[in-house]
């Protein structure tokens, strides 16, 4: 009955943590769909614990925006409307724009080479399906905003990436291989090389804002 612990659950120090990681990875890969109701008891049985830690995991997921929690009527998987996807990308654009600006001092031959490497890896993973590509794409962005050295900023951006991940998958599955993406990210690296922080910030903003309409086109009819 109980599944063997999935890779994400291995380093959980408490039951709540285990439940949280379990649900997060299930949501990320789209095992639960928006609108699905999550029953504490079911999940608890699945991973061999009582409902209590699962409830607490729900709360964390709710503040991540991955589920919605209403008093006395349980926990449902949160989907994003087209408007909400748009809003999320607006927020991402300014936060990652800020991150790039702050990361500029860290840009040098080494870091730029690493970025080219990540971009190649992303490109090559295009054949291996949406799962792989989306992960590599997030890695690329994460490397950049990671260089900002701002823990809170990094956390917030990561949280946003988590929320939009399922929609990125859907999108990628439709277009099979976003050729434009390669060029987009090349431009980004070019801007980083320029050394002009304000310019890099602007390019990042536009890069992110430009992605939103593409996603909405495919993700919107899927739900709501």
């Amino acid at each position: 009955m109980a599944l063997s612990p999935s890779p994400a659950d291995l380093k959980a120090s408490t039951a709540e943590e285990e439940a949280y990681l379990h649900l997060q990875s299930a949501l990320r890969c789209g095992r639960y769909k928006p609108g699905d109701r999550l029953i504490p008891e079911e999940i608890a049985n699945e991973i061999g614990m009582s409902r209590m830690p699962v409830r607490e995991a729900f709360r964390r997921l709710a503040s991540d925006g991955l589920v919605t929690l209403r008093p006395n009527r349980g926990c449902v998987v949160a989907g994003l409307t087209a408007d909400e996807i748009c809003e999320t990308f607006e927020i991402r654009s300014v936060l990652e724009g800020l991150a790039v600006r702050l990361a500029m001092p860290q840009m040098n031959a080494d870091t730029l080479e690493e970025l080219e490497l990540l971009l190649d890896r992303m490109e090559r993973s295009g054949q291996s399906g949406s799962n792989e590509w989306v992960s590599r794409h997030q890695e690329f962005h994460a490397y950049i905003y990671g260089l900002s050295g701002r823990p809170k900023l990094i956390r917030q951006i990561s949280a946003l990436h988590l929320v939009i991940e399922p929609y990125m998958r859907i999108w990628f599955d439709f277009v099979t291989k976003p050729l434009s993406a390669r060029q987009e990210h090349e431009n980004l690296i070019e801007a980083l090389k320029s050394g002009d922080a304000a310019h890099a910030e602007a390019v990042m903003r536009e890069h992110i804002l430009g992605t939103a309409p593409l996603l909405i086109e495919y993700a919107s009819p899927a739900r709501r």
Copy 2:
């Protein structure tokens, strides 16, 4: 023993909600200081419930960044280091900058008049102590970013205001009456009147970034 329900607790529909609001308002007004340990049992007794809902409230406070929660070693009030205050203001600057830009279409004679009114109210509350002034100041900002019509953005900004509120208090208590603040906010309204979204965004960014060093000066020696 149990205190009469403070104003913030009136509309709580669950015990968890009541605990959350209770702790939030206690933290906002600085009743607990950074580093203080919060013992579930004590809090539970204070407001007449068991530890369980209090524990769940802790988790929400933790994801708001108001407390820190470590496995098996409880809940401590989170303070911000000077660096963290700075980072928070950096994030605020781009988020509120975005909000202003998006709010521009809503600016008209009515909304601008309302803003002047809020500014006057803030000005006049300067005598009534830091409590009052900080609330009015947040109201002023909230009105602007509220006009953006972006729910998620509004939530994120509000969360940041919550975290820095105690530091704003400390700062205000020291300087008694920030004369420059009046001018700063006048400038802001002026930029809104200009109708130039990009300019308004830039002014808001600078307004917020300019505040951070003032706070750090006074808030930093207080803790850490």
